[in-house]
């Protein structure tokens, strides 16, 4: 390889002496791509340029500006939430069982159906949905569950096994609020708490979480 062939791709000559030139002027910023990974890579390179820029030409990353183009209707808002949730799911689709993913999409379409929506229903918070995806891939529950939306707009998960019930509210930033009722013989146990996702199984340990999460005859959440 000779450098002269690569020069063809650089329409502007890059000078090693020009003090106005950024240190990493030869960095090729990716152009095409719509995925989150594409954005993450572009952000990394822009950050490199910014940190090494002594010319003041690269602006610091500013706070995001919300651009409102027009007032959205409820139908559009619910559509946007469903779309964002599905896009978020696609980021980890390679780790998800196809049937599970399609079932999730059907559930989302149902619980976010404008026809079923009350005016004062809270909208599903996407950070809550993100916690749900990470929960699903970490815990890998394969028993059929119910999905709902709490009064705070967080995704609700519910399992009912016989008389026993476990409900978990997905809060943002991988925090879970759980409550359960378990019947052991004639004894009734109930408990509730709020834990980080990483601690969930340890905290639910005394109540045998696999009792709710594992259905040995069912398909997997993840591949």
């Amino acid at each position: 390889m000779t450098s002269s062939s690569l020069q063809f791709y650089r329409r502007e000559k890059v000078s090693g002496l020009d003090p106005a030139q950024s240190l990493f002027a030869t960095l090729a910023l990716p152009r095409a791509g719509v995925s989150d990974t594409a954005s993450a890579l572009s952000d990394s390179f822009l950050e490199i340029l910014r940190r090494t820029d002594t010319t003041g030409r690269i602006q610091p990353r500013s706070a995001s500006i919300e651009v409102t183009t027009r007032k959205t209707s409820l139908v559009e808002t619910l559509y946007e939430i469903r779309a964002n949730a599905k896009l978020m799911t696609s980021r980890v689709a390679m780790h998800l069982d196809k049937e599970w993913r399609l079932s999730l999409f059907r559930n989302l379409d149902e619980i976010l159906d404008p026809e079923a929506w009350h005016d004062d229903d809270p909208l599903l918070a996407i950070p809550s949905f993100e916690t749900f995806l990470r929960f699903s891939l970490f815990i890998k529950p394969n028993r059929q569950l119910s999905l709902g939306v709490s009064n705070q707009g967080n995704l609700l998960l519910g399992w009912i096994v016989g008389k026993d019930r476990l409900s978990i509210e997905m809060l943002p930033q991988d925090v879970l609020r759980w409550v359960l009722v378990r019947y052991v013989g004639d004894e009734r146990e109930s408990a509730a708490g709020q834990v980080p996702l990483l601690r969930l199984m340890a905290v639910l340990g005394p109540f045998d979480p696999e009792h709710w999460f594992a259905d040995h005859g069912a398909a997997a959440t993840s591949r």
Partner: protein
Amino acid sequence: MAPQPLPDEHHFVRHVRGALVQRVNGKVVGCFPDAFKLRDASETRAAETYISACWLEWHQHDCDLGIQSVVQELSNGRELKARDAFAVVQVKKMKEIGLSRGQRIRVLHEPTEKSPSYTAVRAMNRDDQELLQLIAAEAISETVDLESFVKTTLKHP
């Protein structure tokens, strides 16, 4: 007229919006605990201090006919959606659960002009998640899916 407590052997019917109905494979299996939760203040309303319901036996002692009347009464004041459901709750069980959690829950008939069977369930501790889960697990004798109810029961009076 002062609010009257519902008889212990009676039931109240709680309207549950679709997002709080638990379904598996499309079939209603119960309610999330949040269905009985006191809602916090929002832009349009103050924080709830009691939950609203309807007295089933005020209408009819037959469950289906009673729910039919409750649906009629509720639909006068609000829009009901196909995925909504109605939780039929035993008053006695509700109070027992409350006592087991240190709460003297009161289930009171507080009729209004538009809602003659209106019932307020008061003195629930708003932060007690276990109370709500126990209500969902033990106090509900039946969860009626509105869409199916309309199709089956209302078509065959």
